[in-house]
Symmetry: C2
Subunit: 80 residues, 2 copies
């Protein structure tokens, strides 16, 4: 079962990578972009077949290993 | 209009960050994970209101700026 964990910096936390992308975008001439936020995505292949249990396991992993919950928020989505 | 660009290493390309997560996961005692792939997610806030045009703009940006298409693949999703 494939589970995707998306980790983003919380609103209000400075995002230098996003700022760099926004700046490069301006230099390259892409207009009409008002905000850019950059984050991480981690795709896990779990042996668990129950979607609810797989989501719970991924959430625990995200809290303890994948995200720094002081400055980052995460969301978990289960596929298939 | 919010557009999310997800950039992942192509299948077959060595993913050291994913390998490191898989290793740390083992050390922390999370079992039942057979594969871990790590990637980037970029959330763009576009002024464009037509979903098709917003997607096309984000795809061009992904090709030219956000992804290294030699080793990375990307997917674009439009929200709202």
């Amino acid at each position: 079962m494939k589970v995707t964990v998306t980790v983003m910096l919380k609103t209000g936390v400075l995002d230098p990578q996003g700022k760099a992308i926004a700046h490069a975008r301006g230099t390259l001439g892409f207009s009409g972009v008002s905000d850019v936020r950059a984050g991480k995505v981690i795709e896990l292949e779990l042996s668990e077949t129950d979607p609810a249990k797989a989501k719970a396991a991924a959430e625990e992993m995200a809290r303890k290993l994948l995200a720094n919950t002081v400055i980052e928020s995460f969301r978990v989505s289960v596929e298939g």
